[in-house]
């Protein structure tokens, strides 16, 4: 490793009364891959956004290669060799991959008759090749690409001008194993040519594999920086949350346990991406559904909630009623946590309390008028019960960190006294502390007789939490596995592929 590439000194940033980054100082060397970890809301993304010119700092100084650095915009940051790949969707869905990659750089392709799109498409194909993503077609609108390919477009965009510092903010959540491999190759390429990478992730195994060192943040403060040899997962977790943590936060029991009563029956469900799926969900059961990302499990979750149009089959509850639409599902006390949290589960530009109360409003009406006091109590009670970190219950959900947003989603459905919860990737993109809290909550709900359908791409989570695991392959059920001490990831994978 060479000279200091980025030096940040006593950086402060607040949003209203919330101190997002407090007296934070760090140095990143050229040729270094630096991990950034911390619980949701610890300030990682805020700091990286300041480096990338998204936010302006309140106080402190930054230097790039010894020169003072005060970015006023992402364009200015880009001119200084800094590129950011963001946590959420960072492409414009309606335009092509090529247009996204060269957004704001269209003048490079100016011809006599305007922009030469053929040249732009060729250059985009080259940019994608550079990030090992030749399979992505840069000429079609990004809305036609899957989430992973959109992320690869973003990576190509970030890499097209060979940045000195590449910031990757929780991007790997959206990637499959193949996508992650591509990302790691890109990181190695940046490092090999002397650039640096600031890598933010909640996956500590990945962090240990990819990074040379790691900086830990908590509540906006700098905690410490560990070199590679000191990057031990248990220690990093404890430094992140500021307390000792057990190694195993999953269920301690090793046999399935639920009541005989069937609360939901899926009867020969078929849809474009569901093929003749039938199963029963019991009272107090955690039914895990696993498989490859495109095996149909996410569509199945929506279908159980009445949000996916079925070609045939039905979802029947214990009282004989058929679930045909989300309104009916909510009335029957079913809750659905979409894996696309920011676009399908909560309204970002909407107050936290109102988000929590949406499904419950109909219950709070007397003589046509919503009882304001009960509405207030409902939102406050669940925000408190789930320890949602917020500056005001009336703030917009957009101001919350990922883990706290997920808690709002949970509060929304628990507030409606849901007896069946469909949780699609419930711990995706959230930190270890919130993860642990969600697993604990799931076990409490199970004890109370709530039935849970947990769709997950994390095998450890499926094995650790489920009474039964329904493995899906090519839109059908390939196997149902019972909870057992002998159940391994290898066994589950065998039925997935």
């Amino acid at each position: 490793m060479g000279t200091v590439l980025l030096k940040a000194d006593h950086i402060y940033k607040s949003f209203g009364a919330t101190k997002a980054v407090v007296d934070f100082s760090v140095e990143i060397m050229s040729g270094e891959v630096r991990g950034f970890i911390g619980e949701n809301g610890s300030g990682k993304s805020t700091f990286s956004s300041m480096v990338a010119g998204v936010y302006k700092r309140d106080d402190g100084t930054m230097q790039i290669n010894g020169r003072e650095y005060v970015p006023h915009s992402t364009v200015e940051a880009s001119d200084n060799g800094i590129a950011l790949v963001v946590q959420e969707a960072g492409v414009i869905a309606e335009i092509s991959g090529a247009c996204n990659i060269f957004l704001n750089k269209e003048s490079r392709f100016s011809g006599k008759l305007g922009i030469d799109f053929n040249e732009m498409n060729k250059a985009a194909a080259e940019a994608l090749k550079k990030v090992y993503s030749e399979h992505v077609d840069p000429t079609i609108p990004c809305s036609m690409l899957n989430l992973e390919d959109r992320k690869l477009i973003e990576i190509a965009k970030a890499m097209c001008d060979d940045p000195q510092l590449l910031i990757i903010d929780e991007t790997s959540n959206a990637l499959t194993t193949r996508g992650r491999e591509i990302l790691y190759k890109v990181i190695r390429d940046v490092k090999a040519r002397g650039g640096s990478v600031l890598f933010i992730t909640h996956d500590l195994d990945e962090l240990v594999e990819v990074c040379d060192s790691v900086t830990i943040m908590r509540d906006g403060h700098y905690i410490t920086t560990l070199p590679k040899e000191e990057m031990i997962i248990k220690r990093m977790r404890e430094l992140m949350v500021g307390r000792e943590m057990s190694d195993n936060y999953y269920r301690a029991d090793t046999v399935k346990s639920y009541e005989e009563e069937v609360v939901l029956r899926a009867d020969h469900l078929s849809a474009p991406e569901i093929n003749d799926v039938s199963f029963e969900l019991h009272k107090g059961e955690i039914l895990g559904i696993g498989g490859l990302s495109d095996c149909g499990m996410h569509d199945l979750g929506k279908a159980l909630f009445g949000a996916e149009k079925l070609d045939s089959g039905s979802v029947v509850l214990a009282d004989g009623s058929h679930i045909t639409d989300p309104k009916m599902a909510v009335e029957k006390r079913i809750g659905y946590m979409s894996k696309n949290r920011d676009t399908e589960a909560i309204i970002l530009q909407y107050p936290i309390d109102e988000n929590i109360c949406i499904p419950s409003l109909a219950r709070l009406v007397r003589n046509g008028i919503i009882r304001s006091r009960e509405e207030r109590e409902l939102s406050r009670t669940w925000a408190d019960k789930l320890s949602i970190k917020l500056r005001s219950i009336h703030s917009y959900c957009a101001t919350l960190s990922g883990g706290n947003k997920q808690k709002v989603v949970l509060a929304k459905w628990l507030g409606n006294e849901s007896r069946i919860l469909i949780m699609d990737c419930p711990t995706r993109g959230i930190d270890i502390g919130v993860k642990e809290a969600i697993y604990r909550l799931m076990q409490d709900l199970k004890k109370e007789g709530v039935s849970i359908v947990m769709i997950s791409e994390e095998l450890a989570e499926l094995i650790g939490m489920s009474d039964r695991i329904m493995v899906m392959k090519d839109y059908s059920i390939s196997k149902i596995l019972d909870r057992s001490a002998d159940l391994t990831e290898k066994t589950v994978i065998e039925y997935m592929i």
């Binding site: 402060y12 607040s14 989300p326 599902a329 676009t343 530009q349 499904p359 409003l361 009406v365 929304k412």
Partner: protein, 314 residues
């Protein structure tokens, strides 16, 4: 240290941004009050302000639900013209019946718009423009391209106190529905994210339909009082009404759908327009300059609104 500034609790910038329509109205009152040496505040002019605000107050309050859903109703003007013509035709038989006809006609057009809005995948802008054109196409032949006169006795109903009473009753009803029932809350949720609203158990079709019923009712009321005031109706009745409602809502602070569309937007916006227009007339500002000033004010409000959208101000 800057970092601690935000911790000091009260944030002036946030408060100004949140309440900027009130400041705009206050500044206009002070400005024109001084410019007209207090004439603006005479009882006659106060009455004029209320009188000229009436129809837009009704229109804006009813349009709250559509604005909250992030949409607009471009058929309101045509709906008012149709309802006014039908009411004027029937008024020769019975004045109370004219009111009923105006309301029924307004609601019927609103229901038609609402039904199509809820069922067809057509942007509301195009849908309501098309409906407006269809109605406008009928109005000419229906009236033989002439205005339809009403009985002289109806002019007695053009009474400021009566209008004030109607506006207050309408405001109370809309306030309660918008803020205290699921109609208002769900409309705001739909405007902020129709996808999440649907996945939270909200029946989108029902609330989309209902939003147009409210503008239909408003069209009926405005149509009735319009013929009371002018003594007749023609296909030009209500011209540009939807546009003025849009401007008033924007001046009142409702420039996007969702939770930022507050009840107060529908009250402050029409008052701002009325004070501005009357103030400029009293100050004898030439018409060209009046348009310029309106344009500048509108631009300033849009800039403020853009600033507001970057803040977490509800």
């Amino acid at each position: 240290m800057n970092a601690t500034k935000a911790e000091n609790g009260f944030n002036w910038q946030r408060m100004v941004l949140k309440l900027y329509p009130f400041f705009v109205l206050g500044l206009l009152l002070i400005f024109f009050g001084v410019l007209t040496k207090g004439t603006l505040f005479s009882s006659r002019n106060i009455k004029n302000i209320l009188e000229s605000s009436f129809q837009y107050l009704i229109g804006c309050m009813a349009a709250l639900f559509i604005f909250a859903q992030g949409e607009q109703d471009f058929s309101m003007a045509s709906n008012i013209a149709l309802s006014a013509i039908l009411a004027a035709m029937i008024s020769k038989t019975s004045v109370p019946l004219a009111l009923v006809v105006a309301l029924v006609s307004g609601i019927a057009v609103g229901c038609a718009c609402g039904f199509l809005y809820a069922r067809l995948p057509i942007p509301v802008f195009f849908l309501t423009m098309c409906i407006a054109n269809v109605i406008a196409g009928f109005l000419g032949p229906m009236t033989n391209y002439q205005s339809v006169k009403t009985p002289v006795s109806m002019l007695n109903l053009d009474n400021t106190n009566l209008k004030l009473l109607v506006a207050v009753i309408f405001a109370v009803i809309i306030y309660v529905i918008y803020n205290k029932t699921t109609y208002g809350k769900y409309s705001r949720a739909i405007g902020a994210s129709p996808v999440v609203a649907r996945l939270s158990g909200i029946n989108l079709s029902r609330y989309k339909f209902a939003a147009f019923v409210f503008t239909g009712i408003a069209a009926g009321i405005v149509a009735f009082f319009s013929i009371c005031k002018s003594g007749g109706a023609s296909k030009a009745t209500g011209t540009m009404f939807h546009f003025n409602v849009m401007v008033a809502m924007a001046l009142g602070g409702a420039t996007t759908g969702g939770p930022k569309v507050k009840f107060r937007c529908a009250v402050i916006g029409p008052l701002i327009i009325s004070v501005l227009t009357l103030g400029m007339n009293l100050a004898r500002i030439p018409v060209g300059m009046q348009n310029l000033m309106k344009g500048v004010l509108f631009l300033a409000v849009m800039v403020l609104s853009d600033r507001l959208s970057r803040f977490d101000v509800d």
